[in-house]
């Protein structure tokens, strides 16, 4: 387990981040003074048993929710200092997010969904970059289709492309392959791996699946809101071994 690294290379980090739901007897400590840093250009997987706080960590880091104590930083921006509006703008401009499902606005076409954050910002974005992202999705011929006309895997690839298109500092993905079959999952993971390798993006992904996690550069294990272990250059076998060890 590593203490926060020097900030220069950090795309995002949490410093003693604690999240408590509820109060009194029913209070749940979903994140317990977590310190974690996500380096630029790295693909990190987060694993842990159900209820261990993975989603909570994603949400707090992405500015969808606020920590109770401690700090969350995107680049050098401390999210706790931001107003509701600035937080929204930060999500739009500096963070990408991929949910497990229901990532796309049904009334917009694939390309409109990809462009959504930039359209919301009223900016063109980096056209070359967008072209690159779009061609990497392999969906060039389906861009005018609406989500309902795309398969689950295609929808998730569009979602990843949307997260990438604005060149955010970091992308968070909460079980992006949780809802699709194995082959489709591999498609999406390959696309994300590619985004890190070829496009220099930073991705943090929650997953239950050792194979999925093995696409990452590093795996962080979460139990009861604490980081208990981590693994660099993982393989499915090593991951499984670690998980058994953790009793998950």
């Amino acid at each position: 387990m590593s203490v926060a690294a020097p900030p220069t290379h950090a795309a995002a980090r949490a410093v003693a981040a604690t999240k408590i739901y509820g109060s009194g007897d029913t209070a749940v400590r979903a994140l317990d003074a977590i310190n974690v840093t996500f380096e630029q250009g790295q693909f990190t997987a987060i694993m842990g048993p159900s209820g261990s706080g993975k989603s909570t960590l994603m949400h707090c880091m992405a500015g969808l929710d606020r920590v109770t104590e401690g700090q969350v930083l995107i680049g050098e921006i401390d999210l706790s200092t931001l107003s509701e509006r600035d937080l929204t703008l930060l999500r739009r401009d500096n963070v990408g997010f991929v949910f497990q499902a229901f990532n796309l606005v049904p009334t917009l076409t694939a390309i409109e969904n990809i462009m959504l954050p930039m359209d919301l910002a009223g900016s063109q974005g980096d056209t070359d970059w967008v072209d690159e992202v779009v061609s990497a999705t392999g969906l060039a011929d389906r861009l005018k289709h609406r989500p309902s006309e795309l398969s689950g895997g295609q929808q998730q690839r569009v979602a990843v492309a949307r997260a990438l298109a604005g060149q955010p500092q970091v992308i968070f993905a909460d079980e992006p392959t949780g809802n699709v079959d194995l082959n489709t999952g591999a498609e999406i993971l390959g696309f994300m791996r590619n985004a890190v390798d070829e496009m220099g993006q930073t991705i943090v992904m929650v997953t239950h699946d050792a194979v999925a996690a093995s696409y990452a550069d590093r795996v962080v294990f979460l139990v009861d809101g604490k980081i208990v272990d981590e693994l660099v250059d993982p393989t499915p076998e090593r991951i499984r071994a670690h998980m058994n060890q953790l009793g998950a």
Binding site: R92, F102, P106, D119, L120, G122
Partner: protein
């Protein structure tokens, strides 16, 4: 299943409260209509009873034809009083005079006038319980120089009257000065005057100044205690000459109540029509809400089916739910309706109606209607949703997501059923407009049913086109606000059935408003044109009280040498043409001067050498219908019972502005039962209009009830009174628009709720609250605009058809107020924006993570 219905209601109470409020408004409208009308009825009935206390019989001149409400009966000879008093069993008989159009002028020179109630002159009687005039202050006036006034006017802060002061009173025999000696109250202890204004004189003075020397307009009779009312009536009858009748107090109460019903009945009907429009519009809103809410409950309903509920049970549960909503809404509507009735009476009084006080009677009929209408319309609205819910399959819940985005059958069945309905609706509407009917009620019912079916057809057909039309109308949004606009447009178009159902309420409201404005505009243009061509008179004098202008007015203007005045007196007459008889309006005027003031287009015969005593002018269409040619004679019977034989001297081409029959006032005035003209037109002999006006004004100083206008002003004031009516109609139609507004709010709230994950997603990827609100506001605006465009188009069609159907002598030009229609569209966009305020606020405040996590 009943429990289930109630449970689901409680779970969705906010949504249903919003929907039920539309029914509450509708029911309240129905209740207010009945209660106000009943209150008027009981007030007037009480009044009739009060007036007749102490009087057992009324003796008066008998109208030879027509109703007592349509004409003034002839006076009777004063000698009759003694004859009646001498009848065995009569305790007392006294002659009374009651003449409308006797106007007191207060210390500031202001005439005391009313809009409707009489401003009358009468005589006081020693026997106060017979006359029902009770002296309250001062003493009764005696002799030609004194008068008393009613207490309401005396105490009215707006008028300046003091005992002992000298005031002018304008009588049918001209303006005179009187000293105020007393204050009297009509009815005791209540003031039963209901807005009427009285000047009282002693009997001899009244006879002289009111123009009835040796005559009375009524004789009030009281029987001795214990007399047999019916038997005594026959004995009184025996001493009466022909043309004089005796009626009992009960008869006059009934007559009074019939007379008041002639305006209370239509008043109630008109209000009920608006109430039903509101309820009709509500039905669409409620049906829509049920559809959406049941759509959201697909899972729950299919689970019910899976564990063994039959389709019938599901249907019953939905219908039970709606019946409960309807019942609750009815009760709330009753309460609101009572308040509404209170407000309505206050409003009417504010406009000078002086309605009798009294409780607001809530009779069983009103309660029954409230419940039947409230429950009935709600259950009716839930019928289709209930049937649909019962068809949900037990496995439907296993499918992903909500079903409400699609599922609209947009194909041939919809087109076919909508088409058939549209055809039926249009045929019925056409029949209602152009068909031959026996009276107004069946005609208007056919028309109303036709319009209702047409609206239903439009709501059935609308989903077929709504997506395309909304997308087209909302296109500018995409240019205005790239992403919010694009999303707003897409959301407005995404569910054609819901968009249509939401918009249809506005469609109906605006269709009616548009129709009214086109008919109104056509009326104004047609009337304006006709009016402009109808006169050559430079000035028109009208009265601001009902009684009209004393006939002395036109002779005074003539005597002053200002020009050529012509007084027009419209009255009921009966005409014998061969064997048949018609009752109609006849105008009496000085025919030799007619061409000086009006454009009368004589096409046969001539006005030259017109014999005032035997001449008749008739309008060409009437002449053709009645088969009358030049020189043909007819016999006229006047309301006084007198008869005259006249022959057709000229036939004119009427433009519908004048009555169809003219005789000379020289003939008519011998038999007139009132000494008033309805209007006086003046062709001025003075070149300078200002000088002419000043000269006429001088004469009018003695006639404070007179209003002087030049042709332009007259036309404008007629237009403005037409506008007042149109505004009033639109205020009532505004309730339908209010319902539409509630409908948009309710649907949008539900839609937002349904799209909660999408909204969460948008916020998650960086849509600001402001962008979110804007998106939802403009979605609502797009839906409203769609509803409005369809409404305006439909209303324009209805309006033009109606204008075409109205006889040419009323509307001959169809005019479309384009600017106004455009403003309607702009306003409805604003409407949508306003309706969206609450849903937009809610959506923007939604917690992003909760929204995303929502199932």
């Amino acid at each position: 299943m009943l429990r289930l219905g109630i449970k689901s209601l409680l779970a969705h109470k906010v949504r249903f409260a919003l929907t039920a409020s539309t029914i509450v408004i509708g029911v309240a409208f129905v209740v207010a209509s009945f209660v106000t009308a009943d209150s008027l009825r009981s007030g007037f009935d009480q009044l009739a009873e009060d007036i007749n206390t102490g009087t057992d019989y009324t003796v008066r001149g008998e109208l030879p034809f027509g109703e007592i409400t349509e004409a003034v009966a002839p006076a009777v000879s004063a000698d009759l009083v003694d004859d009646i008093a001498a009848v065995d069993g009569v305790e007392i008989a006294k002659g009374g005079l009651f003449v409308n159009g006797v106007i007191p002028v207060d210390g500031n020179g202001e005439a005391v006038t009313t809009f409707g109630p009489p401003v009358a002159g009468t005589n006081w009687l020693e026997d106060e319980s017979l006359s029902q005039f009770y002296l309250m202050e001062g003493r009764w006036p005696v002799g030609i120089g004194e008068f008393a006034i009613d207490i309401t006017t005396f105490e009215d802060d707006g008028y300046d009257f003091e005992l002992g002061g000298t005031y002018q009173v304008v009588t049918p025999t001209g303006p005179r000065e009187f000293t105020l000696t007393g204050v009297a109250q009509f009815g005791f202890p209540e003031n039963a005057g209901v807005g009427a204004i009285f000047s009282l004189f002693d009997t001899a003075t009244a006879q002289e100044i009111l123009g009835f020397p040796g005559e009375f307009t009524v004789i009030s009779v009281r029987a001795e205690a214990g007399a047999d009312i019916a038997e005594l009536q026959t004995r009184i009858e025996a001493v009466l000459p022909d043309g004089v009748e005796v009626i009992t107090a009960a008869d006059s109460e009934e007559e009074f109540s019939d007379a008041t019903e002639t305006f209370i009945g239509p008043f109630q009907t008109i209000l009920l029509v608006f109430a039903f429009i509101v309820l009709f519009v509500s039905t669409f809103i409620i049906s829509n809400t049920f559809n959406i809410v049941l759509g959201q409950r697909v899972r729950e309903l299919s689970l019910l089916r899976a564990v063994g509920a039959t389709p019938g049970q599901v249907r019953m549960s939905v219908l039970t739910e709606s019946a409960i909503i309807g019942a609750v809404a009815s009760v709330a509507g009753l309460g609101l309706g009572m308040l509404g009735a209170l407000g309505l009476k206050a409003l009417l009084n504010f406009f000078g109606a002086s309605l009798p006080d009294g409780p607001l009677p809530l009779v069983p009929r009103t309660v029954l209607w409230a419940v039947v209408v409230g429950v009935g319309f709600t259950v009716l609205a839930s019928l289709v949703p209930a049937i649909k819910a019962s068809r949900i399959s037990p496995v439907a819940g296993l499918a992903e997501g909500t079903s409400s985005d699609e599922g609209a059958s947009l194909g041939w069945p919809r087109l076919a059923s909508g088409g058939v309905l549209l055809a039926i609706g249009l045929v019925a509407t056409g029949l209602g407009l152009f068909g031959d009917f026996d009276g107004a009620t069946p005609q208007l019912s056919t028309l109303g049913a036709g319009a209702a079916v047409t609206f239903v057809a439009v709501s059935v057909l609308s989903p077929l086109v709504s997506r395309a039309v909304v997308s087209l109308l909302a296109r500018p949004l995409v240019w205005m606000m790239p992403i919010s606009g694009r999303l707003a447009r897409a959301n407005a178009a995404r569910n054609p059935r819901r968009t249509s159902a939401t918009a249809v309420a506005l469609t109906i409201g605006l269709a009616l408003v548009t129709m009214v404005s086109i008919v109104g505009q056509s009326l104004k243009v047609s009337f304006g044109d006709r009016l402009a061509n109808a006169f050559t008179a430079d000035f028109i004098v009208t009265a601001d009280t009902q009684a009209g202008l004393p006939k002395t007015l036109s002779s005074d203007i003539r005597a002053a040498g200002i020009g050529t005045p012509v007084g027009f007196d419209l009255d009921l007459v009966q005409i014998d043409i061969g064997d048949s008889q018609v009752e109609t309006q006849l105008t009496a005027a000085r025919v030799s001067d007619l061409e000086a003031v009006i454009n009368i287009d004589v096409i046969e015969g001539s006005l030259d050498g017109f014999d005032p005593q035997t001449g008749l002018l008739i309008q060409s269409d009437v002449a053709a219908d009645d088969n009358l040619g030049l020189g043909d004679t007819v016999e006229l019977t006047f309301v006084s019972g007198d008869r005259a034989t006249v022959s057709v001297a000229a036939i004119f081409d009427g433009n519908g502005f004048w009555s169809s029959w003219f005789i000379d006032s020289a003939l008519y005035d011998q038999f007139a039962t009132t000494a008033f003209d309805d209007v006086v037109m003046v062709q001025s002999a003075i070149d300078d209009p200002e000088a002419a006006r000043a000269a006429i004004d001088d004469v009018l100083d003695s006639y404070p009830q007179a209003v002087l206008e030049d042709r332009q002003e007259f036309q404008e004031s007629i237009e403005s009174s037409l506008n007042t009516v149109l505004v009033l109609v639109n205020v009532f139609l505004g309730f339908a628009l209010l319902i539409a507004l509630i409908g948009i709010v309710s649907t949008l709230t539900l839609s937002v709720f349904e799209r909660i994950r999408e909204i969460g997603l948008l916020r998650a990827v960086g849509m600001t609250r402001r962008q979110m609100r804007r998106m939802i506001r403009w979605e609502a605006a797009a839906v409203s605009l769609y509803g409005a465009v369809v409404g305006v188009v439909l209303g324009a069609a209805f309006g033009m058809a109606t204008s075409a159907a109205i006889p040419e002598d009323i509307i001959d030009t169809i005019a479309v107020p384009y600017l106004q229609l455009f403003i309607f569209l702009v306003i409805s966009v604003g409407f949508g924006l306003i309706a969206a305020l609450f849903p937009a606020f809610r959506a923007s405040r939604m917690n992003v993570l909760d929204a995303i996590a929502d199932e």
